[in-house]
């Protein structure tokens, strides 16, 4: 029986409110509080949206891998749904990070794409790999097998991310002064506050969207179960090909 305890949307409202407040505040901080950076001028403001998007993307992929391991160990489909959602949303954030990164490259160096910016190049490669997640899931019909193979993919890809970063970094000549150090450690204090609040805001946004996605998938599954129990004829739904995890309603 579904209980209110197991709902995916638990605390969703709280996250949504927190996201709205923190994200608005962080953008305000980025524009009105953080000073104009000396070397890059105003275009450095892109930093406050691009880098948090990038970091949260990686976080999403890594959590996708962790939930993948948990799925493989437990066989609990809730972990599969979490892994799927984290990777799916990570991919969307990754698109955001790539586009904002490209715009920043244009603003800072006059070109839409620079091959000697290793972080950006690594992101492109990681993006290409994770793009295959959906096609992979879609091409496996049996839901149990789909979940298992997707989990294997999530783990392999999660490990691939750091290896890829090392390889691309080693291959880059590193000629650009890196004000954009992703750690934020070398930033002046006022920039750092703006950066960290933006990071927090984007993280909250990611969690909110993931929870929303899972709650939405769950409610669809509940609706389907309700429909089945109301229309006594057959409790066997037609086989549907889909990349999304299927949620069993007991």
């Amino acid at each position: 029986m579904p209980t209110t305890k197991n709902l995916y949307g638990r605390r969703l409202t709280g996250y949504a409110i927190a996201t709205a407040i923190v994200l608005t505040a962080s953008i305000a901080l980025a524009f009105f509080y953080a000073p104009i950076e000396v070397d890059q001028g105003f275009s450095q403001k892109i930093f406050y949206i691009h880098v948090p998007l990038a970091i949260v993307t990686l976080g999403g992929f890594i959590f996708g891998g962790i939930f993948g391991i948990q799925y493989l160990r437990s066989g609990d489909t809730r972990h599969d749904l979490r892994s799927y959602t984290a990777i799916h949303q990570g991919l969307i954030f990754c698109i955001g990070a790539l586009i904002t990164g490209s715009i920043w490259a244009k603003a800072a160096w006059g070109q839409w794409w620079v091959w000697d910016e290793p972080t950006l190049v690594s992101f492109l490669i990681v993006f290409l790999l994770y793009c295959t997640y959906q096609p992979l899931r879609f091409s496996i019909e049996d839901p149990e097998r789909q979940a298992r193979y997707a989990a294997v993919f999530a783990v392999v890809a999660g490990v691939f991310v750091p290896v890829n970063f090392i390889a691309v970094r080693l291959a880059s000549p590193l000629i650009h002064p890196r004000v954009l150090g992703s750690s934020g450690g070398s930033l002046p204090n006022d920039m750092r506050i703006a950066f960290y609040s933006a990071l927090l805001g984007i993280t909250l946004l990611f969690i909110t969207i993931c929870k929303y996605e899972m709650a939405s998938k769950h409610s669809r599954a509940q609706m389907a179960a309700l429909r089945r129990s109301l229309s006594e004829e057959s409790d066997e739904p037609a086989a549907i090909r889909t990349a999304a995890p299927r949620i069993a309603i007991k």
């Binding site: 019909e141 049996d142 149990e144 066997e236 086989a239």
Partner: protein
């Protein structure tokens, strides 16, 4: 031989393919040395049941155990004691019959494999063509070879999916000592032949859409009852 411990136990066994339940809550107990014959129309779940018992498919729900080992958790323990004969021969077309059998003998760790293989090929009248590549074999020869493969490692439990399909009467006689009741092995047989199947059964299971709608001692069952399953 007065071992009363059951060889095959299923309780509430469910196997799902997606939302579809290929097996829907099967309960059965089969004693050692006995023969269970499974009847049912195509798609009723016979093959799925055999594949679950052969550890090729994991149960989705409920449990199945073979010779006292739970298949979900310790399937590896009983693999060496299972002989499985499916629709496919599980042999490679570009290998000869001898090579195929010797490959499976190595995987099963059979001792003195050469002698065992020769004995089996003799029994099934395949010795003369044992060095030919398998892709040139007729369906009947392939089926005999598949039977040799299934009993190669002297399994205690045989899982046979329509074992006599494609075999002529002479060949059925040849394989009788290997897969027949005389060998004293516990057997689970999927069959489409009501009379023949019933004759060798101790226990009869009738499946339809994955559900057990008939489970009786063979003595209590008539061929008409089995024919009813296919209606």
């Amino acid at each position: 031989m007065a071992n009363t411990e059951p060889a095959v136990v299923c309780s509430g066994l469910v196997r799902r393919y997606g939302e579809r339940r290929a097996l829907d809550g099967i309960d059965l107990t089969l004693g050692e040395g006995q023969t269970l014959v499974v009847f049912g129309p195509n798609g009723a779940g016979k093959t799925t049941l055999l594949r679950v018992l052969a550890t090729l498919l994991r149960p989705s729900d409920g449990s199945a155990s073979l010779l006292g080992s739970d298949l979900r958790k310790e399937g590896w323990k009983v693999r060496s004691k299972i002989g499985f004969l499916g629709h496919q021969s599980l042999c490679y077309g570009d290998l000869t019959a001898r090579e195929n059998l010797s490959y499976h003998a190595k995987l099963h760790g059979v001792e003195a494999p050469a002698a065992r293989i020769e004995a089996l090929l003799d029994q099934t009248k395949l010795s003369d063509r044992g060095d030919e590549r398998v892709f040139g074999y007729s369906r009947g020869m392939l089926q005999r070879l598949a039977i040799c493969r299934a009993v190669l490692h002297e399994p205690e439990v045989l899982l046979l999916d329509e074992p006599r399909s494609n075999l002529d009467p002479a060949a059925i006689e040849q394989v009788e000592p290997l897969i027949g009741a005389a060998a004293g092995r516990t057997r689970v047989i999927a069959s489409h032949d009501p009379a023949g199947g019933l004759a060798e059964a101790d226990l009869v299971l009738g499946l339809r859409s994955g559900a057990a709608i008939l489970l009786e001692q063979a003595a209590e069952v008539t061929t008409d009852q089995i024919g009813e399953l296919y209606r």
